[in-house]
């Protein structure tokens, strides 16, 4: 009884202290905001932004509203994060397995990559790629080129798919084929690779030729007669996106490599020995025995790396790429509405975090459920 009274009293005291601080802060903020003539509602979101955004996935002009600027920034954040997450996963798994390989030079090379990149601040790497590597590149006329790829100080130019009328039918046929193949594999029976491939690609290929090849590749070309100042055609990733994706994927890749290594090492040695005893080749043992068990351990930290990557993409603000944080900073400077802008940012990032955590919980539940089955 006495303990309970003490507990309640303690909590009341804690609440009173925190509440008191909050009330004092709000009172101060009210006075400070009024003194500086700063807006205190979210109404400013509808006002004209007045600044440009160099790269936007949605139609945006300086005449658009602040809310639209924030949306463009959020989409840029998501775009860069998705691209970087894809490459980081590829790099990370490759480096992780390379570090585990019995080949001395290969494993040392992977170790060199991981230990170097993990121990240098991401911002330094980003500035290095952006300022020291991409900025001094030659102009469009003297682009560095690989087949189909042009790299110059205006960015990285990649081949892009182009769609003629009829492309939608090909896409629909591909989706139908994929559904058919999936259904067939789920429903059991003989699962030959050839049939699956035929089901998967057959309808799409047939439609592709019936509609006169509506999907093609558009290659970037520099032709001084057409455009003296830049490469035409293809998909152009500006240097900001290129540097950001490069730095983020190399940095996160080094963390993923360590996660993969730890995951594979956590599978007991007896498993690979048993696989060898059953006559599986090393590659088969990796695919059927080691990886499925390692993935259970790898996936949760992998997902938190994706989350960290999304948060790290806010470093875009340092190289002037209009991601959510950079747009917010501009709005903050223009309107002074610090509380609202930062509250919005926090809500958006927290929503992304919670969505990711939800995904993690779902995975854990599914994994437990799968194990019980």
């Amino acid at each position: 009884m006495k303990a309970r009274v003490k507990n309640v009293a303690l909590q009341a005291l804690l609440l009173a202290a925190v509440g008191g601080l909050l009330i004092a802060a709000v009172a101060n903020a009210g006075a400070n905001l009024a003194a500086r003539g700063i807006p205190t509602s979210f109404a400013f979101l509808d006002h004209v932004a007045g600044f440009g955004i160099n790269q936007s996935l949605i139609p945006y002009s300086p005449l658009s509203s602040y809310a639209r600027a924030l949306l463009a920034g959020l989409l840029n954040t998501l775009l860069v994060s998705a691209l970087a997450a894809l490459f980081a996963t590829l790099i990370g798994f490759a480096a992780g397995f390379a570090r585990l390989s019995g080949h001395w030079a290969l494993s040392k090379l992977a170790a060199l990559y991981v230990e170097t990149v993990r121990n240098i601040p991401l911002l330094l790497q980003l500035l290095f790629w952006y300022v020291a590597i991409l900025a001094p590149l030659p102009g469009p006329a003297d682009s560095l080129s690989l087949p189909g790829v042009l790299l110059n100080n205006r960015g990285l130019n990649l081949p892009a798919p182009n769609f003629a009328p009829g492309a939608a039918f090909v896409a629909a046929a591909f989706l139908a084929g994929a559904a058919l193949a999936y259904w067939r594999r789920r429903s059991g029976g003989r699962r030959s690779m050839a049939t699956t491939a035929l089901l998967l690609f057959g309808p799409a290929l047939a439609t592709f030729f019936v509609f006169g090849r509506p999907i093609g590749l558009d290659f970037p070309v520099y032709d001084a007669a057409v455009n003296r100042f830049n490469v035409e055609g293809g998909l152009r990733l500006p240097p900001e996106i290129t540097a950001l994706v490069l730095a983020l994927s190399l940095y996160t890749g080094s963390y993923i490599a360590e996660i993969v290594r730890a995951g594979v090492n956590s599978v007991p040695r007896g498993q690979s020995e048993a696989a060898a005893a059953l006559g599986l080749k090393p590659a088969q043992a990796r695919k059927w025995v080691i990886l499925p068990q390692a993935m259970r351990i790898v996936t949760p930290p992998l997902i938190s790396q994706y989350l960290a990557l999304t948060k790290n993409s806010s470093l875009a603000a340092f190289i002037g790429f209009a991601d959510l944080m950079q747009v917010s900073g501009t709005i903050l400077n223009q309107t002074g509405a610090a509380v609202q802008v930062i509250a919005l940012d926090m809500v958006i990032y927290l929503a992304l975090s919670l969505a990711t955590l939800g995904l993690l919980r779902l995975y854990e539940r599914r994994f437990h459920w799968g194990a019980a089955r």
Binding site: Q11, N119, L332
Partner: protein, 375 residues
């Protein structure tokens, strides 16, 4: 009775004994050129090294300019890294615009900090309690008096607008760790408390700070701290990001400490209670020493991450080490095509050396904990 049809009637002939592997060279040959695939990989890596190492060697060592009065030599075509520039700018990289005659104040502060850290981390050192009090109480007070100045002690005030370079980076990391260790312990204990209010408040704060990027926390500290405090307090421009870093570090530290607390078996608490220890004494004498001891590698890794993250204070205009390097390259006396790369290479070497040393220490502790009779 005839044997089952699937049983062999005679022994299979034994396969050849594996090649003798005593020879050191043969071992290497086998590893690097054992079969076609590993031979190919070796050749690829050798090609990569042959492609990448000579230019790197030429840029960093052979063609580098080691001493020059200004950037003219470094701007010559074909010149490599401009180490002369690093040499000329070293005071700026280390101390920012801190007055030259007071460098000793900075040196003294960080020498004390280094001494206390070594004392705290040295395995088996004595009187760690005194070291802890020195680090968490005396050092911040003395450091403030030394760095900022204390007119009543005869130390003139040096405004934070003059601070910069490695000094600010180390300061940010130190402030982070000095606040985050106690702060993290309090938050972690709060999150495990049986008082619901304490639990919600701690968990809310931890998840909130961990859910947003550090840049957002820095923006928040920079713009909202002056709004939420009384107008005449006007927190210093360096103090604001430091407060943000301290908050950020505490939230991450709390999760590390929580892992440590979870690793202490509940029998320890029960045993302490059976001996008649109170709640606070149980925590102080039994649970926390074991919990913190178990997560020393985690704490060090957290510190490495924090040190790398201090580079982000540049977003609110603070001149940390990386920001001074990034600004110095615009100096017209030195500006040239190789200056940016030189500066970044130097900064990378600095961070690499610092972080690698820390991570070697943490791996060392991990091994010691792992081998220390726990298993």
């Amino acid at each position: 009775m005839s044997p089952a049809p699937y049983l062999r009637e005679s022994f299979a002939s034994p396969s050849a004994a594996p090649e003798a592997r005593s020879d050191f060279l043969a071992l290497w040959r086998n590893n690097l050129f054992g079969d076609v695939k590993s031979g190919l990989i070796t050749a690829l890596i050798a090609a990569l090294a042959a492609f990448a190492l000579p230019p790197l060697w030429r840029f960093l060592i052979a063609d580098a300019v080691w001493s020059a009065p200004d950037g003219a030599l470094c701007r010559a075509p074909g010149a490599g890294a401009c180490w002369a520039y690093i040499r000329a700018k070293t005071p700026f990289f280390l101390y920012g615009a801190y007055p030259r005659e007071f460098y000793w104040r900075v040196d003294l502060t960080f020498a004390c900090a280094a001494l206390l850290i070594v004392w705290l981390l040295w395995p088996g050192a004595r009187a760690k309690g005194a070291a802890a009090i020195g680090f968490f109480v005396a050092l911040p007070l003395a450091g403030f008096a030394l760095l900022h100045g204390a007119p009543w002690l005869g130390l003139p005030v040096v405004g934070t607008n003059l601070w910069g370079g490695v000094m600010v980076s180390l300061l940010a990391a130190l402030v982070g760790i000095v606040v985050a260790l106690p702060g993290g312990v309090v938050l972690a204990l709060g999150r495990r408390s049986n008082l619901p209010v304490a639990r919600w408040l701690s968990a809310g704060l931890i998840e909130f700070v961990r859910g947003v990027p550090l840049i957002a926390v820095l923006f928040m500290a920079n713009t909202m701290l002056p709004l939420f405090l009384p107008p005449d307090w006007a927190p210093d421009r360096l103090l604001r990001p430091l407060a943000g870093i301290a908050l950020f570090a505490s939230a991450y530290m709390a999760e590390v400490v929580r892992a440590g607390l979870n690793a202490v078996p509940s029998g320890q608490t029960e045993g302490a209670q059976a001996l008649g220890l109170g709640r606070v004494a149980t925590l102080r004498l039994v649970v926390l020493p074991q919990a913190l001891g178990a997560v020393v590698p985690g704490i060090v890794n957290n510190f490495i991450a924090l040190f790398k993250d201090t580079t982000l204070v540049a977003i609110v205009g603070i001149f940390d080490f990386l920001h001074t390097v990034d600004t110095a390259r615009l100096d017209p006396v030195w500006a040239g095509p190789t200056i940016a790369a030189t500066g970044y290479a130097f900064a990378a070497l600095f961070y690499l050396a610092f972080c690698l040393a820390m991570s070697l220490y943490s791996q060392n502790v991990e091994k010691r904990i792992g081998g220390g009779g726990r298993h």
